[in-house]
């Protein structure tokens, strides 16, 4: 009897997640069986404005978002030759690798990352002048306002604003803002995607494109797109033994953002998994005048939408690669575990093996369910019934 219990315990271990994340503090206590392997933060971005009398350079810089500290835990198996390494850089995840014996074929999912730096004014700088540099979180309204006040004091009529969500801009540009709301601004804290409960896996954020409007000496001199992870959704990769450890896995991050996933697996799924994504460069050069600015807004928006669509496609390609892995599983158990990893692999899309839209539960619909329960004070079943009636009536 004792022997069977031991076998069951080993089987359970081999099928479970090998790399987990835990909050260092809070309710998600680290299990005693885990081997701690370091801590990491999710990224956020600051605006870095470098200003002198001739021009302004604006870029975004990834830093640690210290609201959530995650601890990596490794569940090592006595039955498997797990070789797992986790690398960090500047408090952010840099690389996760796991290597096992089965190494046939190579599938690479490439996720390109657009460069996020530009100049708005190409006038050569005066060597004698020391440029003024300021960093601020545009998603913190008070910080943004204060930073722009400082910028405005030093360089009158100069400010930088970031479009938080379409139509709503960070504070600080006053009457020169492109803000189009009459009354209300969304609270960035409300937009920020937080980890409600930590489930096994590696967490990361993928930056979203936000438009950045630059005013220099009372003139709009740039409307560009930069990447910010601040309010980007939090994604999760489920690194479990059955789908990954039996193969060679490499997950690369840059500035805490997933840049590539490499999984060795049979070559027949190469066509599914190799979906390189090229993100468009949204650089819009030149000084825009009052009329052209409106055109540029539209062009920037179109570019922004294209980039976001490409980013979502990249996430979809990852899911499709995992679906392909599930379809090529060697056993029902392996397939089952692979499907589980797909359904939990991101919190954006929870499509399972069925990628058809009929059964697809989107992040939006989960959010709707939560909102319905909270605002209407209903049960989940009651909300689903409300949704059913709305759908039947063709109402949003």
């Amino acid at each position: 009897m004792k022997k069977f219990l031991c076998i069951a315990w080993f089987i359970a271990l081999t099928g479970c997640n090998v790399i987990n994340s835990y909050r260092v503090t809070g309710d998600d206590a680290k299990e005693p069986t885990q081997n701690a392997s370091g801590a990491y933060f999710l990224p956020k971005h600051l605006v870095v404005a470098t200003i002198d009398s001739t021009g302004i350079v604006v870029e975004s810089k990834a830093v640690q978002d210290r609201t959530t500290l995650l601890q990596v835990g490794l569940k090592l198996s006595g039955l498997s030759h797990d070789t797992i390494t986790v690398a960090y850089k500047d408090g952010l995840l840099s690389k996760v690798t796991s290597i096992a014996d089965d190494q046939t074929g190579a599938v690479l999912t490439e996720l390109a990352q657009a460069a996020g730096r530009f100049r708005t004014n190409i006038n050569p700088k005066d060597d004698k002048e020391i440029p003024f540099v300021i960093e601020f979180d545009p998603f913190d309204q008070d910080e943004s306002e204060m930073a722009n006040n400082i910028i405005g004091n030093k360089f009158p009529g100069t400010c930088v604003e970031v479009e938080l969500v379409p139509g709503s801009w960070s504070r600080g540009c006053g009457p020169r803002s492109l803000e189009s709301l009459l009354v209300d601004l969304p609270d960035p804290e409300e937009l920020r995607d937080t980890i409600k409960s930590v489930e096994p896996g590696i967490y990361y954020k993928r930056s979203l494109d936000h438009r950045v409007h630059i005013v220099f000496k009372r003139k709009s001199v740039g409307l560009h797109t930069l990447k910010f992870a601040n309010i980007a959704p939090v994604f999760r990769i489920d690194v479990n033994r059955t789908t990954f450890v039996k193969r060679k896995t490499e997950i690369d991050f840059e500035d805490g953002e997933l840049t590539s996933v490499m999984v060795d697996k049979p070559s027949e799924v190469l066509g599914f998994a190799k979906l390189p994504v090229t993100l468009a460069n949204a650089y819009i050069s030149g000084v825009v005048d009052a009329f052209a600015q409106r055109k540029s807004v539209q062009e920037a928006r179109a570019s922004l939408m294209n980039q976001q669509a490409a980013t979502l496609k990249a996430e979809q390609s990852l899911i499709e690669a995992q679906i392909a892995a599930a379809n090529n599983a060697n056993s029902p158990q392996e397939r089952s575990a692979a499907l589980a990893s797909i359904s939990r692999s991101t919190n954006f899309q929870n499509g399972g093996a069925n990628s058809g839209s009929a059964n697809r539960i989107t992040y939006r619909s989960l959010q709707n369910l939560k909102d319905c329960q909270r605002v209407l004070e209903k049960t989940e079943a009651q909300c689903i019934e409300t949704f059913r009636i709305l759908n039947t009536n063709g109402q949003d």
């Binding site: 309204q141 969500v165 379409p166 139509g167 709503s168 803000e179 189009s180 709301l181 009459l182 009354v183 209300d184 601004l185 969304p186 609270d187 409300e190 409106r294 807004v297 539209q298 062009e299 928006r301 179109a302 570019s303 922004l304 939408m305 294209n306 976001q308 669509a309 939006r364 619909s365 959010q367 709707n368 909102d371 319905c372 605002v375 209407l376 004070e377 409300t386 949704f387 009636i389 709305l390 009536n393 109402q395 949003d396």
Partner: protein
């Protein structure tokens, strides 16, 4: 201009991704002249093209439950809003009406139920004794959690200050009878439709009324317009992108049918969104809050692209109304 209008139209009708495509294909659309005819003669009201802020595409409203509000700030008239007399001496309006210089103003507003607001000295006004904004509302920070709602308490009931107008729109007389001076116990609270009822009733159109200025700072007229329901719960990504908070707000007039032709505007803030039952009773469903986020040609101050309205048929709002002294039951007021 046509291209921008097409882009915005595509955004409203097809969502963000389709919008991106439309932006690329805008010139093709222009060449093949697929634009709806009304776009060639746009009634889009922008701050540049039309100083008026009255309801677009509406007509005079005869319903004196709907009142005009003048907000005072630092002893001066500082803006006009609209409201609904939800009880004899209680007016429901929008919280943002009281925001001045990033703060809630302290002076109580003036209220009238005259059809025309000529100017403050000429109109017959009833002074409010107090007002309160929805708990948690802040003019500075985003009010994601709070509702854009406020209540005004009047010193007197504004009955009988003006003969009933002959309206262009037919307003059932029953609703006027309820406003007779002897009726001081009515409450519209029992009439409020909660979202469940709204969903099951499946209204395709909702009425909106308010006192927008016809000419800047000169005359406000109580108008009424019927708007298409664009999003009843704002569940979709598109509605969210337009700035609407799911289940707390809804969007009217943002569809192709109403685009540029019918909408609420600046001075209509706080006015009611409502339906009427078969007996002509006013059934409140929401309050005018703000325009949808606008891009391109729909710059600040523009109306015609649709509006966002605050739901009042949600539990938190209903509790607030009751706790604020609005009667849950209405006494019969027909005699």
């Amino acid at each position: 201009m046509l291209r921008y209008a097409l882009i915005a139209w595509a955004l409203l009708c097809n969502g963000p991704i389709a919008h991106a495509k439309a932006a690329n294909a805008g010139s093709n659309l222009e060449q093949t002249n697929l634009a709806p005819a009304w776009l060639n003669n746009p009634m889009l009201k922008t701050s540049n093209s039309n100083p008026g802020n009255e309801i677009i595409g509406g007509a005079l409203s005869n319903d004196r439950l709907i009142v005009g509000i003048v907000v005072q700030h630092k002893g001066k008239q500082s803006g006009i809003c609209s409201g609904l007399r939800i009880a004899p001496q209680v007016v429901l309006t929008a919280a943002h009406c009281f925001c001045r210089d990033g703060q809630v103003t302290r002076l109580p507003p003036l209220v009238t139920n005259q059809t025309y607001i000529n100017s403050r000295p000429k109109a017959i006004w009833i002074e409010a004794v107090a007002f309160q904004v929805f708990p948690g509302w802040s003019c500075k920070r985003s009010s994601v959690h709070a509702y854009d709602l406020a209540l005004i308490y009047l010193a007197d009931s504004p009955e009988g200050v003006e003969p009933l107008q002959q309206s262009v729109r037919k307003v059932p007389k029953e609703s006027q009878i309820k406003l007779q001076p002897s009726c001081n116990m009515f409450s519209l609270f029992p009439n409020i439709r909660n979202i469940d009822q709204l969903v099951s009733e499946n209204h395709s159109k909702i009425l909106v009324s308010g006192y927008g200025y016809q000419e800047k700072d000169k005359i406000g007229t109580r108008n009424e317009v019927e708007l298409g329901v664009s999003s009843l719960t704002c569940r979709s990504e598109l509605a969210s992108n337009l700035g609407c908070r799911s289940f707390k707000e809804f969007i009217l007039g943002a569809g192709q049918r109403d685009f540029g032709r019918r909408d609420a505007c600046g001075g209509d803030s706080g006015g009611p969104a409502f339906v009427r039952d078969d007996d002509g009773k006013l059934i409140p469903v929401g309050v005018v809050s703000r325009g949808v986020r606008r891009h391109g040609p729909f710059q600040k101050g523009a109306c015609g692209a649709g509006g966002i309205y605050t739901h009042i048929g949600v539990p938190e709002v209903q509790r607030w109304l009751v706790n604020s002294g609005v009667r849950q039951n209405s006494e019969p007021c027909l005699n």
